[in-house]
């Protein structure tokens, strides 16, 4: 195996293989690598997709042998949300930063059309964040908390028949973005014979629909055999439990029923041990590698191509990212200038219009004012006229009053008749 690679390297680059005449000491290289990784710590992100109540949290608790969180989710969320929680685990000198992402409310809605979109968006968002960091000028990738999802555990409900449509759709939309490992949850609800048939049915459905699930790698001799046989056991039928039950003279993790005890770590009862071994002990590094070199690269390529950047230019000359970027930049810049001009003109125009309207209003107001003023003047004149007339009348009246008083004050020796006559005469002339 190693000589193959050496020969391959030689063919590629005309390098010579050299025999050494003594012990040089670089066999410690893998150890140097390992000690650096220990210092850095590891990062692993698991996404659990499955209906509410199917046992996702319990399985994760059992897998990592700890109690992560307690409360159960409600069934009444209107949309699917993803909840991520990060934990730090340490085993001997290995530090693991584990992130568990749970889908809350998956499969609970009456209308499930929008169920899987939030999951796809979340995965893309993590890739996007990494891509942004990678494209920065001043970046710090070695310091970066990698939040890309390394594995997706898809929980299939143990109906015993076939995949649900929602499951199929979700898996189809996720298979090119993340490593999917399907598991049959609550496997203690199926009997052994039914389980075999169920597994075969599931796998054939997945294959016929073109869903690509994660295959454990078989290219390295040390683990090829184990991985190959495990590939045949997919999907794993698992049971999760953190409760301990006394069996024989040991306390084991199990679920106790009136008719028996289902032991979690018993290979005859369920595939939990297989899952744990495959996921953590044997292939964790490969899962991370696949995520980085295949899924992330695919996302990156798609994203950059979307932006119009290519590796080869119009005449098939290799085009650098920089050049295309610059070209795009100029293009966008030009467009932005144009838009700015447009907006400016629009703005000016609007201002003019508004100004005209306001002027119009002002003019109207002015006219009204004038009109009112005129009316007021006329009114005033009329009133003056009336007043004058009234005053004249008052003067006339007071004159008459004066004259009547003079007549009254004349001596009244004349007989009453005269006086009366005079009075009548005066009165009649007065009236």
């Amino acid at each position: 195996m190693s000589s193959e690679v050496a020969r391959h390297l030689q063919k590629k680059e005309n390098t010579r293989s050299l025999a050494m005449s003594g012990h040089v000491g670089f066999e410690s290289l893998p150890d140097q690598l390992v000690s650096r990784s220990i210092q850095q710590g590891f990062c692993f992100n698991i996404l659990c997709v499955g209906e509410t109540g199917i046992g996702k949290s319990t399985l994760i608790d059992t897998l990592f042998n700890t109690n992560f969180e307690d409360h159960e989710s409600s069934h009444f969320y209107p949309h699917v949300r993803l909840k991520a929680q990060t934990y730090e685990l340490q085993e001997s000198n290995v530090r693991l930063k584990l992130t568990i992402v749970n889908t809350v409310g998956f499969g609970d809605q009456i209308n499930k059309e929008e169920s899987y979109q939030p999951i796809v968006d979340y995965i893309d968002a993590q890739f996007e964040a990494y891509l942004q960091e990678e494209l920065k000028i001043k970046r710090s990738l070695f310091n970066y908390h990698d939040s890309r999802i390394h594995v997706c555990l898809y929980f299939i409900s143990p109906t015993g028949h076939s995949l649900k449509t929602l499951d199929l759709l979700t898996m189809k939309s996720l298979d090119s973005k993340v490593n999917i490992i399907p598991v049959i949850a609550k496997a203690d609800a199926i009997s052994k014979t039914e389980l075999q048939k169920f597994k075969i049915k599931l796998m054939s459905e997945l294959v016929s629909n073109g869903v690509q699930i994660y295959q454990f790698p078989t290219d390295d001799e040390t683990i090829a055999k184990v991985n190959a046989s495990m590939n045949g056991h997919l999907p794993f039928a698992v049971v999760g439990s953190m409760d301990e039950v006394k069996v024989g003279n040991k306390m084991v993790k199990a679920r106790q029923y009136p008719w028996g005890i289902v032991q979690v770590e018993n290979e005859n009862h369920c595939d939990f041990v297989k899952l744990r071994e495959m996921l953590i002990c044997t292939n964790m590094e490969d899962l991370r590698d696949e995520t980085h070199t295949r899924h992330y690269e695919l996302y990156r390529r798609r994203k950059l191509e979307e932006m119009g950047l290519t590796d080869t230019g119009p005449e098939n000359k290799p085009l650098s990212l920089q050049e295309t970027y610059e070209a795009k930049r100029h293009e966008f810049y030009g467009e932005r200038q144009r838009k700015e001009e447009e907006m400016k003109q629009l703005f000016v125009q609007r201002v003019k219009e508004k100004e005209a309207v306001l002027k119009e209003a002002e003019r109207e107001l002015q006219a009204k004012f004038e009109h009112l003023k005129r009316v007021h003047q006329e009114e005033k004149l009329r009133l003056e006229e009336k007043r004058r007339l009234l005053e004249e009348e008052i003067i006339a009246f007071s004159k008459k009053k004066a004259t009547s008083e003079i007549y009254q004050s004349q001596p009244f020796m004349t007989p009453g008749g005269n006086v009366r006559k005079d009075k009548d005469r005066k009165n009649s002339s007065f009236m």
Partner: protein, 357 residues
């Protein structure tokens, strides 16, 4: 210290991650098996290491390389009478794949014949700097392709061993100029060559004077103090820093001493054993380069020097538009090269994120 050079903080994720909760595991899970997985993967892929040796001719560079890797990398050249000294500095690279206990190492050694050999040695470091930057440029171009290779071939120079002639006095102006320029671009390990011409006391004195020189001129050789992570690193590296530059002797012939077969130089007054700590400090150099700090050399090259180059390149790329075929970052002016311009991060990065979101 250059504020741009950030130390590769190896306590990685804690710095920039959201709230994390420490958790207690109630039993064995098997997480530490990931170390074995790492090892298997590394052994399958093999390792790469690129080393450059710089020094005047006749200082024993080729012999030293042969001794380090215990094989005939180069034919030790004996200057023939009719061979003219090369007029310009020409770099020669040779690549070998060596294997030990299942670990494959692809080793590339770059030699610099003609360095410092001319009458006028002005700017003789330019071709070397150009070569180093050329390797960074290759890597950068590969990295920014749309369709990238799974594993980008790493030709960047991880370590440059600088041979100081054993004058016993001080560092020469050529040495100082070269070291100043190179320390900012690559990891430099200076060694006192042909140390068998100095006695032990002379060696110590020479070493101290060189250390003083380095301090006066602000030259940070590997292991750089600013990249020490934790207290263990500090202790280990301070011990190394006390002994830099190592006084080494190279030999590729074997002789019998006291019944043992050792590598050494035979002279009329005795045999100088290369691997004997009492005779010379070759074991220290070998241990530093291969047995303990090889991965660290590669890490610092990748995380610090390469990133600095990348920042510098991406900031000025609008001035020099070129495609991936362009590798002629020829003798760039040493001044601005040595001091990466503080990036106008605001303008460029902002556009970056605006247009890619």
């Amino acid at each position: 210290m250059d504020p741009l050079r950030q130390s590769p903080s190896r306590s990685s994720s804690r710095a920039s991650s959201p709230r994390t909760l420490p958790c207690e595991m109630l039993g064995y899970v098997g997480i530490e098996a990931v170390l074995d997985q790492l090892k298997i993967k590394a052994m399958k892929m093999g390792f790469e290491f690129n080393i450059m040796v710089v020094g005047q001719s006749g200082l024993g560079k080729s012999t030293m390389v042969n001794t380090l890797f215990k094989s005939k990398m180069w034919k030790s050249t004996m200057p023939g009478l009719g061979v003219p000294t090369p007029q310009t500095l020409q770099l020669q690279s040779v690549t070998h794949v060596i294997e030990e206990s299942g670990v494959k190492l692809k080793l590339t050694v770059t030699d610099t014949p003609g360095f410092g050999d001319q009458i006028n040695n002005d700017k003789c470091w330019d071709p070397i700097l150009g070569y180093i930057n050329e390797q960074y440029e290759h890597y950068l171009q590969e990295e920014i392709l749309i369709t990238r290779q799974r594993h980008i071939p790493d030709t960047r120079v991880h370590c440059c061993v600088y041979f100081v002639p054993p004058t016993g006095h001080w560092l020469r102006p050529l040495d100082i100029e070269f070291l100043q320029r190179l320390c900012r671009t690559v990891n430099v390990v200076p060694v006192i060559a042909r140390a068998d011409s100095l006695t032990i006391e002379e060696r110590e004195a020479f070493r101290h004077r060189i250390q003083e020189n380095l301090k006066t001129h602000g030259i940070e050789v590997y292991p750089q103090k600013c990249f020490d992570e934790d207290i263990n690193d500090k202790i280990l590296n301070s011990k190394i820093r006390e002994r830099i530059p190592f006084a080494v002797v190279g030999a590729d012939r074997e002789h019998i001493v006291n019944g043992r077969c050792v590598l050494g130089r035979k002279t009329k007054w005795g045999i100088i054993e290369v691997e004997n700590m009492a005779h010379c400090e070759f074991p220290l150099l070998r241990d530093l380069l291969i047995r303990s700090h090889l991965q660290d050399l590669k890490d610092i090259t990748h995380n610090v020097h390469y990133e600095n180059y990348r920042i510098f390149r991406l900031n000025e790329s609008h001035v020099l538009p070129r495609g991936p075929g362009w590798v002629n970052l020829a003798p760039a002016p040493a001044g601005p090269q040595a001091n990466p311009v503080p990036p106008k991060v605001g303008g460029w990065a902002k556009d970056n994120s605006d247009e890619e979101c």
